[in-house]
């Protein structure tokens, strides 16, 4: 039975913490897009938090609702919630998003101008050690044991750099090899992705409720970058179904400050959606 992911202290929920970690990493310099796809209340909060604090030039894109720069201070249910459109600056035609994806980032030019996923990332019912993800299903196609909800926009992982995002850290999700790839990560590792996809970079981070993973420089294998307060390297290893690269010194993820929690709760998530959101660890 999976247990609820507990925060390092009782000051905050794990979803609030993950939102703050994502906000710190959101965007780059200059104009960029941040947003989120299906089931990404946390990424939505993270990008809004980043926008009103450290990334004023971030364009907050909410795909399902189809708008830029909604000015909500209570958190909508998802990026498709029409309340994302309160105070928005532009309605976007969904084909504009598809155009950005099919055109793709030019290798070496990461303007992010048309890229729908800033901070946040693509989720799956399986994620493997090279950051490939699976939204299709588990089992022998078409007789699947578990039918996933479908590929949707995870296909855009092939278009340029991205992140992977999961709210449940377990061996069922983190598997040695995905049964099917709906979103391409570093494929078979090494230079396999760069060869097949014309130099386009793969995922940078995997955001989990108990840790952050990144990828090794040559093999592009998942590596523990930091472990969240309240958890240990052993917890991460024990709940991951593939062999992780474990550096000698793994830092603890910087805990949230009171200032960060106050801004998040007072200006982004006034209705406390993230305080109630359920994240789990273990099968």
């Amino acid at each position: 039975m999976a247990e609820l992911a507990h925060p390092g202290t009782d000051r905050y929920s794990m979803a609030e913490f993950v939102a703050i970690v994502l906000a710190r990493q959101a965007g780059g310099t200059g104009e960029c897009t941040g947003g989120g796809g299906a089931n990404q209340a946390v990424a939505l909060a993270a990008n809004r938090l980043a926008q009103i604090t450290v990334r004023p030039d971030l364009w907050l894109f909410t795909g399902g609702a189809g708008v830029y720069n909604g000015k909500f201070d209570t958190l909508p249910i998802g990026t498709w919630d029409p309340r994302c459109g309160h105070g928005a600056e532009c309605k976007i035609y969904i084909a504009d998003v598809v155009d950005g994806g099919t055109r793709g980032e030019r290798p070496g030019h990461s303007s992010g101008r048309m890229r729908p996923a800033g901070s946040g990332g693509f989720g799956g019912i399986q994620v493997d050690k090279y950051g490939n993800i699976n939204m299709i299903g588990v089992g022998q196609y078409p007789k699947l044991k578990v039918r996933g909800p479908g590929t949707v926009g995870t296909i855009w992982m092939g278009s340029g750099p991205s992140n992977v995002y999961v709210e449940h850290h377990s061996k069922r999700i983190f598997v040695e090899k995905c049964d099917y790839i709906s979103g391409p990560g570093w494929l078979q590792g090494g230079d396999s992705r760069h060869k097949l996809l014309n130099g386009r970079d793969g995922p940078e981070y995997v955001w989990s409720p108990i840790c952050v993973l990144d990828f090794t420089e040559d093999e592009h294998r998942a590596r523990i970058a930091s472990v969240h307060p309240g958890y240990t390297v052993a917890d991460v290893v024990a709940n991951t179904g593939f062999e992780l690269v474990v550096p000698k010194d793994v830092p603890q993820t910087t805990p949230p400050t009171d200032w960060e929690l106050n801004v998040l709760r007072g200006q982004v998530d006034r209705n406390g959606v993230l305080r109630k959101r359920r994240m789990t660890v273990g099968l």
Partner: protein, 316 residues
């Protein structure tokens, strides 16, 4: 004998008996029967927002069966309810799920028991395929998108062609036309000028890719409302065949700027369907109500619907 040109007949001799512009309003039951007489239908909206739910319920009541659905890029109840009712034979899949509320129970069950033919599609496949059909193009093409994924072996409708300009092999997506496109609008006049107040989704492409378009609208408005703000007209009446007045017709999904999603009602559906009791839901909310207004009574009537309306306006 010389050909009789119409321009030779003065206008005053051509005056029709009824000089009114034709109204496209029909009732919901008739719309349901029309949809049920077709093979392929498409819908728009996004996740649990702006779904043409009252038309879908009407089609189920009209015993629609063996149909193919071309969904929007993401959808929930608008696909799961037809599946629960046995209305679908084939689904072009991009995303069917209730997102924060969980997986789509009828879809999962039908897929895992192979009771439903599934085309393993995705966001660009649905959108670009619809655009190909909208423009009467033989297919649409993309580069690289499917290179690293398994769609090439799972989706038999995805093909490869040689780009005549570069000689490179590229991916071809077939045109996704439909017999009928059913859509939800916040406001529509009786001539079919439909205004959607949400994000700019796929309504225009889907309307052009369909042989017939049926609009359900929360409100039927006079021409003066449309004329005040023509930039808000999402689909021109010229493309629309029929209009149905269905107040709160997107319930239990959102209607952009009009009323909020009914989370409690969605949970009622999900719980019943997950426990193999979808038929109870269908009986109570789809088959037994004698009309749309009885459905609205059964889901909580004015008290509930007014609450959903104010939920969008009032800060929690």
């Amino acid at each position: 004998m010389a050909h009789q040109h119409r321009f030779m007949t003065p206008l005053n001799e051509q005056l029709p008996a009824d000089r009114h512009r034709k109204s496209k309003l029909i009732d919901l039951d008739e719309a349901g029967r029309i949809i049920a007489s077709k093979k392929v239908f498409s819908i728009a909206g996004s996740h649990s927002a702006d779904a043409a739910m009252s038309l879908i319920r009407a089609a189920i009541r009209a015993r629609a069966t063996g149909m193919t659905l071309i969904p929007p890029i993401t959808t929930s109840l608008a696909a799961d309810l037809p599946i629960a009712a046995g209305m679908l034979k084939k689904l072009y899949l991009s995303y069917v799920g209730f997102e924060v509320f969980g997986m789509a129970p009828a879809f999962r069950k039908a897929a895992e028991t192979q009771a439903l033919e599934i085309v393993e599609a995705d966001e660009p496949f649905i959108l670009l395929g619809t655009q190909a059909a909208a423009g009467g193009k033989p297919f649409n093409t993309v580069q690289f998108v499917y290179d690293g994924t398994d769609h090439k072996r799972l989706n038999p409708e995805l093909k490869q062609v040689v780009d005549p300009f570069t000689g490179k092999t590229v991916w071809a997506i077939p045109p996704l036309r439909s017999d009928v496109f059913i859509m939800h609008a916040q406001a529509c006049d009786e001539y079919g000028n439909a205004q959607c107040w949400g994000g700019t989704g796929q309504e225009r492409d889907k309307a052009k890719a369909a042989d017939m378009v049926i609009v359900q609208a929360d409100e039927i408005v006079g021409s003066e409302v449309i004329e005040k703000d023509p930039t808000h007209t999402t689909v021109p009446g010229l493309w629309v065949d029929y209009v149905v007045h269905a107040p709160f017709g997107a319930h239990p999904t959102f209607s952009s700027n009009n009323y909020a999603v009914d989370e409690d009602h969605l949970r009622v559906y999900i719980d019943l369907a997950r426990n193999g009791r979808a038929q109870e839901y269908l009986d109570k909310y789809v088959l037994e109500p004698k009309d749309h207004y009885e459905y609205l009574e059964r889901v909580g009537g004015m008290r509930r619907l007014t609450h959903l309306r104010s939920t969008l306006a009032v800060r929690s």
